[in-house]
């Protein structure tokens, strides 16, 4: 069974359970984990019936997967995994290795071994622990280590830390050659004779010095003898008949003088050594976990407890943003100082499905950023926008409220602090540039021209008369170009930006008109010479800069004929948040009646999908030191909650495909 398939099966299995409590696996998450995710299966099955789920495409997919693997099942819950307790995942890294760890509760280890690990080689580690290792079919694949006792299955995916084995001292310790393609290429072009390759043949024995004891920063001691024979020497006895070799290549050196084959063989031997070392470290790490079981856990941290919500079906916790950045991209973020990061401390994320699908997250803002962020986003959306928005007609709105002047004043210094380290060795020059930028720029003037808040409204598709040229002929068949109009559907959107500087707008538009880039329509202008498939109109009216694709709407706006009707809910969303957006799925579905869909099947499919979805909303709010995000997908009334809606959508999508 492949690793991805394993996780899918496990993931589905978790969703089939009768609630009952057992050991809480969160106590096994080490305090130095980068982050953790909790899969709250008991909560999930309070929201959806087991039988309902089992009948869905996802539930049936699990049965199909097991059938394909030759595992006979009486039912979905017969794999020995305890489906009545939450599962966890966490990540951990050292300077040499990164671990992604999954913790799955077990109800019956014998059953699990006979099903999920059927046919696998299982080792007894002692103390009631057993292990199997899933090795990849090819040299550059990933290894997975499964270790379990009677109550918990621990799945560890090790990955080497970037660049760790590139260090010559480390490489020589394990017999890794690290020969690069260009080494071979340059050697080949310098010395094309066959004899020159004899130095690059496979090593019969480990003629590279290796340490008696291998130590990595996790503190696991591993003796070199613990490494598999074949990976130490690079002279692999591994059966390569299944490897995806090109014809004519193999592990033997000097195959028809083919230096590239030799390079490939050495490279893959190196990879297998690294893989073996990682496997040994992983086992050592697991043993260390057992040994240090009582020395603290992430669950004891206040930020962890604060992050997880028992009502959520999935919760995630990041211990510290700096640790996260360092985990994701240490080469870049490792050089940044603490003051460079905008966020600090823990991140919390929860997904709820009681009725609507709601995903919330919050992050703490780092001290150096608190005051600037507060200044940069101290504005509210201009209320005047609301008279130009009709909530019943829109497909989507996105609004944001920022302070342009404050941004321009604060950003140069913030950028210098954050990214100065990334600009090495030009940090000083970057600082000078940002300072010059501040000196030369009149932030207040720019802030008057564009205050910093705006709204984008997508109204859908509008039928417009579009000119085109048609050829006709006179009586002597001389060509006549006839200009006509035809109806075309064009996107109808409106962008509004607060602006106090009407004089600046007038100056620029007047100039552009004389140059032919704009056409003057009196109170508004039309943009010319664009590659866009629709016309664009601009106007500055009542302290707002309008950009629209609709001629009729623009005429209504500048003549104060436009009458908007904005729902109170939408108004509140835009006014109370730093940024907010709404996507009206029902109105999008109505636009499909107008859209030129090519086939009836596509039309019906899209109508059924959009008809099963409610509105989507997104909001961002800054509360002092905290930045909160929330995404909501409204569940239509015919579904009891978001999970039923999701199952229904997946079922329909699979059917339609």
């Amino acid at each position: 069974m492949t690793t991805p398939r394993f996780f899918f099966i496990i993931g589905v299995l978790f969703l089939l359970v009768t609630p009952a409590w057992g050991q809480d696996l969160s106590n096994r998450i080490p305090p130095d984990a980068v982050g953790a995710v909790k899969f709250n299966t008991p909560r999930f099955f309070e929201l959806v019936e087991v039988d309902e789920f089992a009948r869905s495409w996802l539930g049936e997919a699990f049965v199909r997967l097991l059938d394909e693997d030759g595992i006979e099942q009486a039912g979905l819950a017969d794999c020995g995994i305890a489906l009545d307790r939450a599962a966890y995942m966490y990540a951990l890294h050292t300077d040499s290795v990164r671990f992604t760890v999954f913790l799955w509760p077990i109800s019956d280890s014998e059953k699990m071994m006979s099903t999920l690990f059927y046919g696998k080689e299982i080792a007894d580690l002692g103390g009631g622990h057993r292990q199997t290792v899933d090795r990849p079919d090819y040299a550059y694949g990933k290894t997975t280590v499964y270790t379990w006792d009677e109550s918990v299955l621990t799945v560890i995916l090790p990955e080497q830390a970037p660049g760790y084995f590139d260090d010559p001292a480390v490489a020589s310790r394990y017999g890794i050659t690290n020969r690069s393609y260009y080494d071979f290429y340059s050697d080949y072009s310098d010395s094309p004779g066959q004899d020159a390759y004899s130095d690059y043949g496979f090593r019969d024995e480990a003629d590279v010095e290796s340490a008696d004891v291998l130590i990595d920063s996790v503190g696991v001691l591993v003796c070199v003898e613990a490494l598999p024979e074949d990976s130490r020497s690079g002279n692999s006895d591994t059966d390569t008949s299944d490897w995806d070799w090109d014809e004519g290549r193999g592990t033997d050196a000097n195959v028809d003088g083919d230096w590239y084959s030799e390079y490939e063989a050495l490279s893959e031997a190196d990879q297998r050594i690294k893989d073996s070392v990682l496997t040994v470290w992983t086992t050592g790490y697991f043993q260390q976990l057992l040994a240090n079981a009582s020395s603290g856990t992430a669950a004891e941290k206040a930020s962890y407890a604060d992050a997880l919500n028992d009502e959520a079906i999935v919760s995630a916790w990041i211990r510290d943003f700096a640790a996260l950045y360092d985990f994701v991209w240490p080469e870049i973020f490792g050089s940044m100082t603490g003051s460079g990061f905008m966020y600090t401390g823990a991140m919390r994320l929860n997904a709820f499905a009681d009725k609507d699908l709601r995903i919330t997250s919050s992050m703490d803002i780092a001290d150096p950023w608190v005051r600037p962020i507060g200044r940069m986003y101290d504005r509210k959306i201009n209320r005047k926008y609301f008279r130009y928005i009709d909530s019943d007609e829109i497909i989507g709105i996105y609004g944001f409220a920022a302070n342009t002047q404050a941004i321009l004043e604060e950003l140069p210094e913030l950028l210098g602090n954050s990214y100065g380290a990334l600009a090495w060795p030009y940090e000083e020059e970057l600082g000078l540039v940002t300072e010059a930028f501040s000196l030369l720029l009149d932030e207040a003037a720019v802030g008057r021209a564009l205050r910093g808040d705006g709204v984008f409204v997508l109204n859908g598709l509008e039928e417009q008369d579009v000119p085109f040229t048609h050829y006709d002929w006179d009586e002597d068949y001389n060509i006549i170009e006839v200009d006509s109009l035809r109806k075309e559907l064009v996107p109808d959107f409106l962008l509004m930006l607060s602006s106090d500087d009407r004089a600046l707008y007038d100056r620029y538009t007047a100039y552009a008109v004389t140059k032919g880039n704009l056409t003057d329509h009196g109170r508004f202008v039309e943009v010319q010479n664009t590659n866009m498939p629709f016309s664009l109109y601009l106007a500055h009216h009542r302290g707002i800069l309008f950009v629209s694709t609709s001629l009729t709407k623009m005429e209504d706006i500048v003549q104060d004929r436009h009458k908007g009707k904005m729902a109170r809910h939408h108004r509140r969303m835009l006014r109370q948040n730093t940024a907010a957006g709404v996507f009206n799925v029902a109105n999008l579905g109505k636009e499909l009646d107008n859209a030129q869909l090519n086939t009836l099947e596509r039309y019906l499919m899209l109508r059924n999908i959009f008809g099963s979805m409610g509105d989507m909303e997104y909001r961002v709010r800054i509360n002092g030191r905290r930045m909160d995000h929330e995404f909501v997908s409204r569940t239509p009334s015919e579904y009891p909650n978001a999970i039923y809606q999701l199952i229904s959508l997946v079922d329909y999508a699979m059917e339609a495909m």
Binding site: V466, F468, T469, H470, Y471, W473, E475, D476, Y477, I479, R486, E488, V490, N531, M532, P533, F534, N598, T599
Partner: protein, 218 residues
């Protein structure tokens, strides 16, 4: 001529396009030709398509790509024996493409067709042969290849749709009066010296209409 279709293959995402070949033939067999492709009716769609990288599995060329290809083709056209004075233009506002050239003899037009198919790597058995006899008989013989129709029927419905409403028009102008035209759909101008043939592009592709035509001059 069919080479207008080949040049603009990538622009065939628009419906209601017009392909026009307008050839003037003098008594000595020399003359001039103007080829036009008018995609103006679909300019909205085309403008949208050209903002994309690919659509319906087809890569969308940029304006520079189209201009470069046309320039290359014009260069190749100039090298064809008997062809001179090649000029081309592209109007990206109305999406109209125009190519014009002069020829020393009607038979030289046959080399143009071959060149276009080679340029666009089109392996087509559709052949056009132009000839003018001493007796004043102008012929355009079009050999239809059934494979073209089969290939068209294999297209996805949305790809076939772009050809709906598209028309092909050929106009032959002479310095003498026309006495007889063989094609049933061809019309003679009131001046009596020009002949026009119009057909839907789909019918030409599927072979429903053959655009061969023989014109007897007085």
């Amino acid at each position: 001529m069919s080479y207008a279709v080949a040049i603009l293959g990538c622009l065939l995402f628009s419906s209601c396009f017009q392909l026009v070949e307008d050839i003037t033939i003098r008594k000595d067999g020399s003359g001039s030709a103007v080829l036009m492709a008018n995609f103006s009716a679909g300019r909205q769609t085309l403008a949208s398509v050209m903002l994309l990288d690919s659509v319906q599995g087809h890569k969308v060329p940029s304006r520079e790509d189209i201009q470069r290809e046309l320039k290359a083709m014009a260069g190749e056209l100039q090298r064809v024996d008997g062809i001179s004075g090649v000029s081309h233009s592209v109007d990206f506002d109305r999406f109209i493409i125009r190519i014009s050239f002069s020829f020393s003899d009607v038979s030289k037009l046959n080399g143009v067709t071959d060149m276009v198919f080679r340029q666009f790597k089109i392996d087509s058995k559709n052949t056009s042969l132009y000839s003018l006899t001493n007796a004043g008989r102008f012929s355009r013989q079009y050999q239809y290849d059934p494979e073209a129709g089969k290939a068209f029927s294999r297209l996805k419905p949305e790809d076939r749709k772009v050809f709906e409403g598209a028309s092909y028009t050929s106009i032959y102008r002479f310095d003498r009066a026309v006495s007889h035209v063989s094609h049933a759909l061809a019309k003679t101008a009131s001046s009596g010296q020009s002949v026009m043939l119009q057909a839907p592009v789909i019918d030409v592709i599927t072979g429903k209409i053959n655009i061969s035509n023989h014109i007897q001059l007085k």
